[in-house]
Symmetry: C2
Subunit: 427 residues, 2 copies
């Protein structure tokens, strides 16, 4: 099926600002609560949110085989389970409906009142019920920085790193959408030269700049996904702030990996940008430094040129950009991650989420965490309001943004913005 929704020449009859992340070529999918307190699946063009449940009830998708309630749900899981053919048909149809040359909805005032919402009339929800959240560790720059800081700069990468897209299972229950604040976690840490741990608030709360892809149901128990089929099962991407408590992690993570240092919160942007919308922005992945095993070898361009940015906004002050990175730096790409994840027969379901790991680039300003940007706090970052940051302070808001741009078309992710509140106190 053609990707006609990607036609760069199309304009929408809905207003779209020049620098909007959401031109008619984007058409992301999300879930929102409307002004009438109804949960629906929707998309967004410019600053207008579109109720796909209502559009479908009004008959605008009648030529696509869809169940009646496919958009009247509180998650995208069932729609995603319908597969790529359906996603494409729906996206192409939405592009048609909102094409400036199409008068049908444009001239129907009554229908427009039902399906269109201003952004301040809706509340974005978590777009999927995440069955399993996997987090990879796929940036060579990040792995090298961490290895240099905590082990040996001469042998920064662990022996398995160049052979395995290293990953671990994360916690689904604490994945939250942009806008939900997070409390500074408490936990055990081992201070300086102490031999006994202490309990208290984490002193080293950090962000991790990541992206995550959302899958459709892919395979049965026992059956690997071959790497040349993996792309079929990727619905789209979101921005991911994989909150981390560095001091808790340091004490807990040997030998079974990070646990409470991560599971207090992982924040995502609420609009899933489809892999189809990102098609024009494909680029080559970094060249492998070693021979990779056959099940990890792929053909074609499997990385995406997505500009990423992180800001910190202290309470009541302006935000300061602290990192500029790019998704294309990932050493291991998504099809390698998915092929690896399933090579043992692990089943992947609709709504599973797989994070990239911290996305650090080759230059110090492109590092994807405060740990790296301040080099363990040794080089604090100067903020616009004159204050300094080694890690994240109480009441700081961390904002991540991402977009692709090529020949005048910009496809963006909006933002994931999360305020860090002080430690939770029982009322």
């Amino acid at each position: 099926m053609s990707l006609s929704a990607n036609n760069p020449d199309r304009k929408s009859w809905l207003h779209v600002d020049k620098n909007s992340d959401f031109p008619i070529q984007n058409i992301p999918f999300g879930v929102f609560l409307t002004r009438d307190d109804i949960i629906t699946i929707g998309t967004r063009i410019g600053d207008t949110a579109i109720d796909l449940g209502a559009l479908h009830q009004l008959g605008y998708f009648d030529d696509i085989p869809l169940t009646d309630d496919i958009f009247l749900q509180d998650t995208l899981n069932d729609f995603i389970a319908d597969g790529r053919k359906t996603w494409r048909a729906v996206r192409n149809k939405i592009a048609e409906i909102f094409d400036d040359n199409n008068d049908i909805l444009k001239q129907n005032k009554k229908h427009k009142e039902i399906v269109l919402f201003r952004l301040d009339e809706i509340e974005m929800q978590l777009p999927v019920q995440i069955g399993d959240f996997t987090d990879f560790y796929s940036s060579i720059e990040h792995a090298t920085n961490v290895g240099s800081m905590f082990r040996d700069p001469e042998n920064a990468l662990l022996p398995n790193w160049l052979h395995i897209p290293v990953g671990y299972h994360g916690r689904s229950s604490s994945v939250i959408p942009s806008g939900i604040p997070v409390h500074r976690p408490q936990g055990q840490t081992l201070p300086g030269d102490a031999t006994e741990p202490v309990f208290g608030p984490s002193k080293l709360v950090d962000f991790e700049l990541e992206m995550a892809f959302i899958t459709t149901a892919a395979n049965d128990l026992g059956e690997p996904i071959p790497i040349d089929e993996a792309e079929e099962y990727i619905f789209g991407l979101v921005l991911l702030n994989d909150w981390s408590a560095r001091d808790i992690q340091k004490w807990e993570y040997v030998p079974l990996g990070p646990f409470l240092a991560k599971s207090f919160a992982s924040s995502i942007s609420p609009w899933i940008v489809t892999l189809d919308a990102l098609e024009p922005y494909r680029v080559e992945s970094p060249k492998p430094k070693t021979n990779q095993l056959k099940y990890l070898k792929y053909k074609g361009k499997k990385s995406y040129d997505i500009n990423l940015e992180v800001s910190i906004q202290p309470q009541g002050a302006k935000e300061t950009v602290v990192s500029n990175s790019n998704f294309k730096y990932m050493y291991w790409n998504m099809v390698q991650q998915l092929a690896h994840h399933t090579v043992n027969g692990c089943p992947v379901n609709s709504g599973d989420m797989m994070g990239s790991g911290t996305i650090s680039g080759p230059t110090p300003e492109s590092y994807g965490s405060m740990l790296e940007l301040t080099w363990k706090g040794e080089n604090p970052i100067k903020m616009a309001d004159g204050s300094e940051r080694k890690f994240i302070n109480d009441n700081d808001t961390v904002i991540m943004r991402g977009y692709c741009e090529k020949e005048g078309t910009r496809i963006g992710f909006g933002e994931v913005s999360t305020k860090l509140l002080p430690v939770f106190k029982k009322k």
Copy 2:
């Protein structure tokens, strides 16, 4: 509310074998497919499965506030979310209905035909949709054995082990009920003195003898569960065979923990035995060897005396018991695990599953994995059919069983039985 269902003197009008795991004092909960291809929630007395959906429709639970479809579901999640008061009321009512002195259902042939099933007429399903699966590492004997084998017998426990109920996030999508066979996983391993990994079938597939508890929804994001409230949120327990590929694990697990070595399958027994049913079998936990932080300090008996057994059955041969252990050996108990898991504010939902980690006892015959029982394969186990096992062979079936017994009442878990098939081959 009283635990009248536990009355040891009660007899059922349903036949119960003397050594049955499922006397009327048990009343576990599960989900099964009936002879009419309907999924329902049920319980079991002796070798009779009872359709609770049908019983409820027939009015037998009318004096308990329950939604009409609470048992007509394909998972127990909603029932579990109703909370402990409801679980107790339903369990007490079931005990009444099947009490030998109660003629109402006993004398109603038509109703009995609707609600009662022989075990060969039903197919047990996964009892819950597992939102998140956490696996702990709470047996001091297991941690000591592993540390002795792979690190230093003099310093077998890692520095954090006596302070933290160490755990990690597992994979929910590959949790399966007893009876579903599992393929030997493939993956990367680093052979002997090689410097480059190879790809192929795992050569060291092992079981891990565990139990797991299932939770109800407990807390909001950010809000810890105090240890003295933790028990409120534990619905019940199952047997868990946490399949492990030792060679894959060895190469992949540093620094983020086990991943593909575990996520190919985790098998559980299908009947959830409630914590209420286990009440008579409470025992003290092992005495802490160090001072534990305040949030991990508890009062009372929080461990349970549950006899555990593992058998291996080669294809077409008799089974051989290879391990006899007990759940009471766990150094860290369930309330400590749950308090620790949420101390950072991580939310726990209805249907989450938390594994104990391998349950090894103090004696070599009580070790909970082949890794320990054969000491890395150095001391193969002799099987009844004359063959030997270092790890699990293709077409072996691993069977775990568990039960409590006291003053003539036996409460058991049935079994989790899983056949290991050869590597998956695409047809």
